[in-house]
Symmetry: C2
Amino acid sequence: MLMKAVILLSGGVDSTTLIYQALADGCQPYAISFDYGQRHRRELQSALAVANAAGVFEHQIVRFDLRLWGGSALTDNSIDVPKERPFDTIAQNIPVTYVPARNTIFLSFALGYAESIYAERIYIGVNALDYSGYPDCRPDYIQAMQKVFRLGTKQGVEGNPIHIYTPLINLRKTEIIQLGNKLSVPWELTWSCYNGGNLACGVCDSCRLRRSAFTELGLVDPITYAQ
Amino acid sequence: MLMKAVILLSGGVDSTTLIYQALADGCQPYAISFDYGQRHRRELQSALAVANAAGVFEHQIVRFDLRLWGGSALTDNSIDVPKERPFDTIAQNIPVTYVPARNTIFLSFALGYAESIYAERIYIGVNALDYSGYPDCRPDYIQAMQKVFRLGTKQGVEGNPIHIYTPLINLRKTEIIQLGNKLSVPWELTWSCYNGGNLACGVCDSCRLRRSAFTELGLVDPITYAQ
């Protein structure tokens, strides 16, 4: 029998590579995406297209509204998304695109979903290198969540805790794209931009990291940029 | 300046006592409640009434739907809420009213809210004695979440982690009611029943634990029961 795995899918480069990795690992994928009032809600179209292309068994879209309290450029329209920042600045500080407790909220829902379907694994595409500014993308944080999974669930206390898989955590963006190419990831379906336009803006941190990685590899990024 | 505290408020005996305890501790209370597709959504009326009576600074009601995947008698109408079970059975097993990952989801939202308002504390009314069947009510689980709070947030990595307070964790239900009396908790506003009727059913685990505690103390429970 295939192992059931819940995959956190935003529709970006990392989570799309992740779902193909889960398939390559022999898992039956169950995708979960979040409609949380993000500025770049457009990413959900990509999540749906990717889930469809990857042939997931089920795709849950959980709705809640983090604009209730804001506190991030991604959930508060009064805070601008930074553009054209030097890459070394992005990595040094916690950026204004940090959403308080976002990965903890996402992983908690994934945990509830995973337990309800008796899944063995949760895949999350966190990355501690190219976005090391985010505290909730680091290995020690993931280990702490793993302990929560073990102690705070029925499956955990019964000796079958759900395991968190983070295959991208130590990869650079270029390495993730190389892995994705090996797995035949459909890049044309993905969405990375933090802004909510019809075309990717090309100038936010997320667009620029993506573009520069494709360029560094001498590859063509198949999506269209506004500038 | 008063310490800001986020209080998880369901409107029941425990969380209502909790909010009055936070006031007694010198905190400025910010309440958070959850409209998650629970069978006993009626409890939100009580949460609103209690928040109002306690004079909270703000009350956030976060909406999402755990009926998406069910897995609990509280979020799946096809699973009956148990009634008239012996109390020793309640404590021994994880009951069907366990909602996968519920407290982890609740604490995650409380964490995001707390960080957005620069709160110092989160109060949660978990109790490891009278409901020891729930894994996400135990001290080791709370400690694991505290570590997540420390490692996974901006406030945490900057050296000001938000602290989880669980003043009721080692109290029996009778002791919680005694504490509530000392704090002048308005019991008539509270709601404990797992069923969604206009009157508390009187026969689910939650009603019975509450009633028997009031009876044991020789006190009158001011709410009306259907039977």
